[in-house]
């Protein structure tokens, strides 16, 4: 069967990268005694695919993976078995059965939403002005790893939120398609906010349906 698991990744697990997370899930499935399917060949790989890599240091409320098992197992049972098999900072929030014929999970991701909390106080009005300028711009030429690209079309939503206690934070929805992935740290950098003074959480991955 093909199962889709939604999970949160918090705390210490923010510092576990994409490849290590893959390995972590493989071991968790084994601990949970779930019948993982493996690829054929000389070095069999478990059939686990993560929807979209989460940058190191970010937490997430809604990561998604697809996994293939050699047997049909009720989704509630999958969730129950995984509960005690995961490190404390990963929690399964949903398990569903998926049609085997659906295209690969990674190709279905459209965009992702993020909350960026600022750990140093900022001038809310000033930040609001910078965000407006950014959204008004037709192009936002940026360079990353010696490649230039336009960031503007990757930003779908960008909001500044001022809480009643004065805390200011950002909410964004960025494109996350193959070859067109917006990065929260790039947006923050363009706004003049240093990444070390932020705490970013991915809140949701949005898929085509």
């Amino acid at each position: 069967m093909r199962a889709r698991i939604t999970f949160s990744k918090q705390g210490a697990l923010r510092y576990t990268g994409h490849l290590d997370l893959h390995r972590l899930w493989e071991r968790a499935m084994r601990r949970a005694d779930l019948p993982l399917s493996y690829s054929l060949g000389f070095h069999p790989q478990p059939k686990i695919s993560l929807a979209a890599a989460l940058p190191l240091g970010f937490s997430s409320l809604g990561e998604v993976l697809d996994v293939r098992f050699n047997a049909e197992i009720p989704t509630e049972e999958i969730a129950a078995r995984l509960k005690d098999s995961l490190p404390p900072d990963i929690k399964v929030t949903g398990v569903e059965s998926v049609d085997e014929r659906e295209p690969a999970l990674q190709t279905q991701v459209l965009s992702a939403t993020y909350d960026a909390h600022l750990t140093e106080p900022v001038d809310g009005a000033d930040l609001m002005r910078r965000v407006e300028e950014m959204l008004m711009a037709e192009n936002l030429p940026r360079e990353r790893r010696n490649k230039s690209y336009d960031m503007r079309p990757l930003i779908e939503i960008l909001n500044v939120i001022t809480e009643s206690d004065g805390e200011v934070w950002l909410q964004m929805k960025l494109a996350a398609r193959d070859g067109a992935t917006g990065r929260p740290e790039e947006v923050l950098d363009a706004l003049g906010i240093e990444p070390e003074y932020t705490r970013v959480e991915r809140t949701r991955l949005i898929f085509q349906r």
Binding site: A12, A28, R31, L86
Partner: protein
Amino acid sequence: MLNPEQIEAKLDRILLKVQKPGRYVGGELNSTLKDWDKAQTRVAFVFPDIYDIGISNVGLKILYDQINQRDDALAERAYAPWTDMEALMREHEIPLYTLESKHALACFDLIGFTLPYETLYTNALNILDLAGIPVRSADRDETHPIIIAGGHSATNPEPMHAFIDAFAIGEGEEVIHDIINTIQRVKGQKSKVDGDLRPSTFDRNDLLLALAQIPGVYVPKFYETTYLEDGTVAHTQPTTPEVPKVVNKRIVAKLLPPPLKFIVPNIEVVHNRVSVEIMRGCTRGCRFCQAGMITRPVRERAVQEVVDAADAAVRSTGFEELALMSLSSSDYTYVNELVDAISKRFEGRKLTVALPSLRIESVSIDLMDKLKQHRSGGFTLAPEAASERMRKIINKFIPDEDIINTTRDIYTRGWTTIKLYFMIGHPSETIEDVQAIVDLSKRVLAEGRKAAGWKVKLNVGVSTFVPKPQTPFQWVSCDTRENILEKQALLKRQLLKDKNIKLSWTKPEDTLLEAWLTRGDRRMAEVIYSAWKRGAKFDAWGDEIKVQTAWLPAFEEHGLDPAFYTHRQRRTDEVFPWEHITAAVRKNFLFQDFRQSLEGQIRMDCRLNCYACGILPTFASLRRENPGEGWKCPEVKSPAKVKSEKLAMVSEQLPVVGGDFCELNW
């Protein structure tokens, strides 16, 4: 002192700037986070190398579980941060903290270092400094944790005597509880003062004195060393009658149930595996091997216990590899039954099983066959020396023909790579003995080619022998740098010509550093301190420049000659710096064994033929009180009476190998 929340807030600022930040955050499955306020005694265990290496240490895992099973104590972990992290921690004034609760190390009652090898010494100093704890024992007061250390290098604790408050000699499973209980007794109950748990007032010296009276615990401050004019030790004696003249190591009568819930790291580390100890101690008596001498007597675990523990541990971790640990797997009494049971239990499950330290004989290939191991992984054998003469000297006697026949068989049965481990620098080694490594390696490969074709490969690992304390070779001189280089040049010249031979070797600087430290005396502490001040750390990582820039200047600063520690044959009547510490194998026995080696005489496995090394009488009453199948030394009749009856009857039971006598003046 920063509290955990403050430490975590600071960490968030720096973690994305370092390599592998996952090393510094904890949160692993099977780690234990207990209620800080409910624990009377808080222990931090430290493996003084990076997380990637330290996380797999089984010894600390055993102790961690022992403490965390108590209601009145908690144990957490810390490792050495890599240099990038250390620089940022110092810049941001973050003290070294534990991974579980993020408390600063200085908040704990007890810090326990494991020191399995000497090249961790400077790291231990660096860790204390990073934790904001005075590096020198003498500079600590009641506000500081008690610093203890154990592990194999504690069999000569003297080079670290100035920095460690107390050493646990031998096995730690029981003594750690004695230490905790003593701390609780002397410190008294903690009480709440201004919402904070405060220990009652106590005197640090009283506590150390109480610790010094626990069997197996050595507290250096209550001992004094005097030296002869030639720089050797005259004697090391207690400065107070309350402590023992000689500290005898501790052992457990029966191996405790093995740990099942290994900590599963969230990042890649060196060993991702479950380790189950099948046997402790070794009866082979290889004269170069410190582990084989200091971990006696042999105690075995039952097959069923090993298999059940392995199964439970594999289930609780999801690890892909299982290592069945011992110093000599082939000597485990029920090794065939074990291998059968393991292959049956894990059939069809994706698991690699490692059964290290197999004897060079065809039976070993049958064992590996049964474990259905990937033949791509290579087959490892350790002849240790390549000439029959030299294998007699080191007491690891195997005829050349056995090596050739076994390796040929391994290639024939489908392994394409064999790894052979040798050492150079054994006592009385000549260049011919080194040439023998070349000749034997080439012969192994040639025979392999005849049997299995041109695809066969050979990896030759050649390390350099370091004479270790508490072994028959503790008297000998270490090989000189020039000799080592010459021998390695010969190996490289002759072995690297064949592209199917891979050769690895140890840098002479690494060997010398280990050799200086392992047989060092108390004066070496100042050298370690100065070397650390001059930037020495991560000495196990092979940075030979540090030898030039830190270690040699440190020796010079203190007017000590490095060659005194390494390149000097000890007098037969020399008092060693570790004379007041014993692993229960008598010096007389070691000396006799050393003399036998010079005569090329070997001693066979001592399971059947007791050579009276001293273990039996030392632990006679422990064994009598805890009889069982696990003990593998020969039975001795009514051990309590042995001493008084002058051992007459025992000596009759003891066969003598090589025509030499067994001295029995226990």
